[in-house]
Amino acid sequence: MWVADLVAAYATASGRDIRAVDGVTFDVQEGEVLGIVGESGCGKSTLASLLALVPPRSLQMLGGRFGIDDHVISPETSDRIPREWRGKLVALLPQRAMNSLNPTARIGDFAFDVLRAHESRVTRRQAIERARQRLEQLALPPRVLESYPHQLSGGMRQRVVTVISTLLNPKVLIADEPTSALDVSSQKALVLLLQRLLDEGYISRIIFITHDLPLLSNIADRIAVFYAGKIVEIGPTKQIVDEPQHPYTRALISSTLVPEPRVRCQRLEGLPGAPPDLRMPPPGCRFHPRCRYATDICAREEPPLTADGDDRLVACWWANAQRQNVEGGTHESRAAVGLA
């Protein structure tokens, strides 16, 4: 799957659009898990709804394009997407899986409806049998097919939702904060389930969207850091976690990975303010009002995503400058950055 320069905005009553996704570019390779991390309100869920082909009515795709295999979606075609693409090509693992099942239908009946939506000749018996096999292969109890959602525990409901959304073997699974309502052991079970779906080849790519960086570092191969509708840094998980370049990434990591009270207080110092109002994003780099390294250029010009090493991209004037210094041989400054 690839995404090129994607722009999408919500129309508001005041006439000023909210650009929740603003020039996003990345790709996801076969077998890969791409993590997208960011604060709430940064446009992650908007991106998820776009990629899952279920944008809210008020969301308009304005530019760019994205595609899966040879299926391409552009602003011109975005409102004529064939229904069959959803679920088969790309599937959504929703944010609130607790309420994502129809309370008055058995799980098996819903599985039938999902299969039937894509294979008009499948019978109820065949559909339920396929769902049963899938559950057994994933070491989940097949009896859930006979149950109503309220008869299942929260964690089980989340796993069932995961199995159903991958029943059609979609090319891409978009998981939008699937763990936010779960306790730690259910979170772990879900991550293992996703891993297993990938290993068994039922799905070939996962885009995992969350604000939970520690969790992401366990499952993602690469991580994209989202801020105010843009990717500010993207690269292999290990590089992002161990040597973050963008000041925002650093702030995220220092605030979440070390859960000590002292460090938490530092976060308040280190990352003042709130994410910008997307109706009136600040000029230049969108992070500059909150950034302690900001200089004049940050407020004037938007930093481009520039390569740092083989597969990492960073959008930051300060990081660029640091890198040039390092390449120039001043190792001290790099050490200083590491301590900051």
């Binding site: 009553a13 005041s14 009515r57 008020s58």
Partner: protein, 303 residues
């Protein structure tokens, strides 16, 4: 008339806080809709008609006989005369006034009882809640018109105020249910906990931490109760159980016109005006309620 009662809504989704509502107002989203303005203008016109009409036109005696049986409309009697030869237009103004007064008092009584029982049940929870809501549901099931008939038999001489009270004490259950649901979702809010930790008692908690957050709700309930009170009065009066002592209400006008066969003799001026007026009053109150409901609960607004 199932629309004249607040429906049970999934708990919590009405719970727009005062703060968020004010925020919306500042953003200029919450402009009163056309329906709201329309219903307010309509109601204003009705009140002026009922209160100022008789004074301005100098028609203060609705019982004065001015003509014969069902005289058609003329210059003297704009809407003709009724079966006793009384002026229909004068009766209409006085009848509307009676309806509004009875509706207002009955609505206030019903809303007050409903709010008290609903908040106590919702706030105390447990056995108190079970008992109060059990009672409410039993009363809800019993057709209120039947209770009204039975009570009206007991109370021989019914004044406007007794009528209003009788209607009020039989129509509170819908409000009690709705208010209870609202209270129990508010009860678990943080500000209530904080106030409780500061030592506030049940009464002051309800008065300061619960009620202010559902004022909009209480107002909506009152508007509905007033509408249903007006209709209940008209139904009772139509049956012949209306206020006595020569009071005129829209329902009493209908009662006489039915008993004296104005419909089948074609004397439309005797029954069309009160019918239309009752409908317009009820419609404008319901419209007011639903437009206020959409204003307070943006989820009902279509995008």
């Amino acid at each position: 008339m199932s629309a004249a009662v607040p429906r049970e809504q999934p708990a919590g989704w009405r719970a727009a806080t005062l703060g968020s509502r004010i925020a919306r107002m500042r953003l200029g989203v919450a402009v009163p809709s056309g329906r709201f303005r329309f219903s307010v203008i309509l109601l204003g016109a009705i009140v002026v008609f009922a209160v100022l009409g008789p004074i301005v036109l100098g028609r203060d005696d609705p019982l004065k006989i001015v003509g014969g049986l069902y005289d058609p409309p003329s210059k003297a009697a704009w809407l003709g005369t009724d079966n006793f030869g009384r002026d229909v237009f004068t009766q209409l103004m006085h009848g509307t006034r009676t309806s509004l007064v009875i509706g207002g008092i009955a609505g206030a009584v019903a809303t007050a009882i409903g709010v008290v029982l609903g908040t106590v049940a919702g706030f105390r929870g447990g056995l108190v809640e079970e008992a109060l809501m059990g009672l409410t549901n039993v009363i809800l099931t019993i057709p209120s018109i039947v209770v009204l008939i039975l009570l009206s038999i007991a109370v021989g001489n019914r004044s406007i105020v007794t009528m209003a009270i009788i209607i009020g004490v039989t129509s509170w259950p819908w409000t009690a249910r709705a208010i209870r649901a609202q209270t129990s979702s508010l009860r678990t809010r943080e500000h209530v906990d904080i106030a409780r930790m500061c030592g506030a008692g049940t009464l002051s908690l309800i008065a300061w931490e619960i009620l202010p957050f559902m004022l909009s709700y209480v107002v909506l309930a009152f508007v509905l109760q007033m509408a249903s009170g007006i209709l209940q009065e008209a139904a009772l009066s139509l049956l012949g159980l209306g206020p006595g002592d020569g009071t005129i209400s829209l329902g009493i006008m209908l009662h006489w016109s039915l008993r004296w066969e104005s419909v089948r003799t074609g004397a439309w001026w005797a029954f069309v005006p009160p019918t239309v007026l009752l409908t317009v009053i009820a419609f404008s109150l319901l419209l007011l309620q639903s437009s206020m409901d959409e204003f307070f609960n943006p989820r009902l607004r279509r995008k």
